[in-house]
């Protein structure tokens, strides 16, 4: 008997892919959180309304201060006093009697409404700060903007955020530091944002609260409505809207496996990553913000194998000066000490450095990475000097991206020498024996790995781009994405060639692409002789567990056998079976 048509639209399961910012799996209803900037309208008031208007302002100030004190206390507790300090500036502004006195005088003399005068007066200061060529000032401008909006909201009596019914997964464009207060007021199961890198106060908070977070989803706020059933997988960096029963069960199983696994991870963090037959693998972390160092340490990283310096360029109106960069790099090298950090020089398209760059038809094959820096030696030298100055603790290394020729390396090294000389002339210190390495991602560099190894101290294989170039595939192009095959025989043989070439010339070879963090690849990579794996902090313990459970001797045999295979599927199947047998407790996503 056919069931009657209920007229209910089938809710299709939508899978959104982003970046894993905090581990965990949660299932629950979505809450679309949007922070609208309050609208301010200019209104004329009567003389007899002035007193009450000033009263509105004072009340709004008091409420704002109470709110900020609460946020400050919460932030101090959950994020530490360093991070909580950002709210102190806002609280001080509220207590600025000169500022508030001026605003009250203007309300009386101009006879306009409080929120208009507040917006007008405080914006003046905001503009001045934005006009400064200083990252610090721009951040203060954000603080000023934030407190201004808070005062206005309170004048308008707008509730920014209401208490949620029950638990929810927050979906938002982005989460500013002050928004983190929502985590204290409600049962948040996790959050997902359109924008954002792997760090930010929200990500740090999510990790300390042990709730999953996925960022960089690009269009989550468009695909999700408040109340939609969501599944958030902070291991895979995936958010699923309207998950099917099947999906839900798979996630529950995965959640359970990870829970069991994580209970044992605490012991692993302190161990050195060494195989059963004592082959030591340097297991380090890929990060891009200093705030991630703490998490990397907790996860047991032996240093930072890749620090993406592009974060220096993001959200800045102007290219950062040598001094600004030095301050940032110095802070990082200090925090990582006594471990080492490898700074990769700017790996961006030309348009990030020179805004008037002509639009490229093929940016992936175009003016980016080291190519841009060598064409702009003035900017390259700023970065090199900044990094060198931060190397006095002798725990800093430099790495160049997208190298294609030996010439490029020699040019870059000449610039390093020039930077050192310039610092000598200025009487500034640096590590004279600073180690220099390159990323092997362009196929030409892979083929020429031996000659390249002769010029440097280490090689790091960037599999993300290497595989795309080797397979001639854009992994973001859905039509061909399946061709992005990590275990394609050609990829494996290329990796082997690079490792052998490096070792022939006495340099160590590491890997910082996603493949390094794929538990399925670990045995293979160890068998091929990799010396270092730099991975996302969240997967570090899994990789370490595998290394601790195998012998390099056995891994070598596995690698030899697999190198002879002709299809990716065979290789993948063998590796899955291997992990399931050898290290069954690894909660693989198969």
């Amino acid at each position: 008997m056919d069931s009657p048509d209920t007229g209910k639209a089938q809710e299709v399961e939508i899978v959104l892919k982003g970046i894993a910012a905090a581990p965990g799996i949660s299932l629950g209803p979505a809450y679309l959180y949007s922070k609208a900037v309050p609208r301010v309208q200019q209104k004329v008031i009567r003389a007899d309304e002035v007193a009450s208007e000033i009263e509105r302002l004072r009340n709004a100030n008091q409420r704002s201060e109470k709110e900020l004190q609460k946020i400050h206390a919460f932030a101090e507790q959950k994020l530490g006093s360093q991070n909580a300090r950002i709210f102190e500036a806002q609280i001080m502004i509220l207590g600025d009697s000169i500022l508030m006195g001026t605003i009250e005088k203007r309300i009386a003399s101009e006879m306009k409404n409080a929120e208009f005068i507040v917006a007008d007066e405080i914006s003046k200061y905001k503009q001045l700060m934005l006009a400064a060529h200083d990252e610090y000032m721009h951040e203060r401008a954000l603080d000023v903007d934030d407190v201004m909006n808070r005062i206005i909201r309170n004048i308008q009596d707008q509730k920014l955020f209401s208490r949620l019914e029950g638990e929810s997964i927050i979906v938002s464009e982005t989460l500013a530091p002050a928004d983190t207060i929502i985590f204290s007021r409600n049962q948040i199961l996790g959050y997902a944002t359109d924008l954002g890198g792997v760090t930010s106060h929200a990500a740090i908070l999510a990790r300390s609260l042990k709730i999953p977070a996925v960022v960089g989803l690009r269009s989550a706020t468009k695909a999700v409505h408040t109340g939609d059933a969501l599944a958030i997988d902070g291991y895979a960096g995936v958010v699923i809207v309207h998950p099917t029963e099947e999906t839900l069960q798979a996630l529950e199983r995965k959640k359970q496996r990870f829970r069991e696994f994580e209970e044992r991870l605490v012991d692993i963090a302190g161990l050195t990553a060494e195989t059963l037959d004592h082959k030591h693998i340097e297991l380090s972390a890929n990060i891009e913000y200093p705030e991630e160092i703490q998490f990397a340490r907790v996860q047991g990283a032996a240093g930072i194998g890749l620090f993406r310096t592009e974060s220096q360029l993001i959200g800045k109106p102007a290219y950062p000066t040598e001094e600004e960069q030095y301050q940032a790099y110095q802070t990082i090298s200090g925090e990582v000490y006594p471990h080492s950090v490898i700074f990769r020089t700017f790996d961006v398209g030309g348009d990030k450095i020179s805004p008037d760059t002509a639009h490229e038809a093929n940016p992936f094959l175009g003016w980016r990475g080291i190519r841009v820096l060598l064409d702009r030696p003035d900017l390259f030298l700023d970065q090199l000097r900044g990094i060198l100055r931060a190397s006095t603790r002798k725990n800093v290394r430099i790495m160049f991206p997208m190298i294609s020729t030996v010439q490029e390396i020699r040019q870059a090294k000449a610039l390093v020498a020039q930077a050192k000389k310039e610092l000598d002339d200025r009487g500034l210190g640096y590590d004279p024996h600073i180690k220099i390495g390159v990323m092997i991602e362009v196929p030409a560099a892979a083929v020429l790995a031996e000659e390249i190894a002769s010029e440097v101290d280490f090689l790091s294989i960037g599999t993300n781009d290497l595989i795309q170039y080797l397979m001639a595939v854009d992994r973001d192009n859905a039509a061909v994405a399946p061709l992005y095959q990590q275990f394609h025989p050609a990829v494996l043989r290329t990796i082997k060639h690079v490792i052998d070439a490096g070792h022939k010339r006495g340099v160590w070879v590491g890997m910082c692409g996603e493949m390094a963090g794929d538990p399925l690849a670990t045995v293979l990579l160890v068998g091929l002789g990799i010396d270092e794996l730099s991975v996302l902090p969240s997967v570090l313990p899994e990789i370490k567990k595998i290394i601790l459970s195998i012998r390099q001797k056995d891994a070598k045999r596995v690698a030899e056998r697999l190198l002879a295979r002709a299809t990716e599927q065979e290789i993948r199947d063998e590796l899955s079976a291997l992990i399931r047998n050898k290290v069954p407790e690894i909660p693989l996503d198969l």
């Binding site: 102190e88 001080m92 405080i122 700060m129 200083d134």
Partner: protein, 88 residues
């Protein structure tokens, strides 16, 4: 009315912490305080004003004090700058 020239000796310049110390110190005195940097002037008792100075290490500021206790105020403020706001 008196004027004093001071230099920022702090590595991080006049960031939020020292700015707050400056304003707190100025508040102890009756005299008005105006701070000038290049062609730009702000009220030295206003924290948001001092924040906009964006004064980095090495920059020179002119302090102008006007009031019954201007001498004491000037002395206290100059000393604050010389002590690098007790930051270093």
């Amino acid at each position: 009315m008196i004027e004093r020239t001071v230099t920022i000796l702090n590595k991080k310049g006049l960031h939020t912490r020292p700015a707050a110390s400056l304003v707190k110190t100025a508040a102890r005195f009756q005299s008005e305080l105006t701070i000038r940097k290049d062609n730009f002037e702000i009220n030295g008792k206003s924290i948001i004003g001092v924040m906009t100075l964006a004064a980095e290490e090495g920059s020179t500021l002119t302090l102008r004090l006007d009031g019954p206790d201007e001498e004491q105020a000037a002395a206290a403020l100059v000393e604050l700058f010389e002590r690098k706001f007790d930051e270093e």
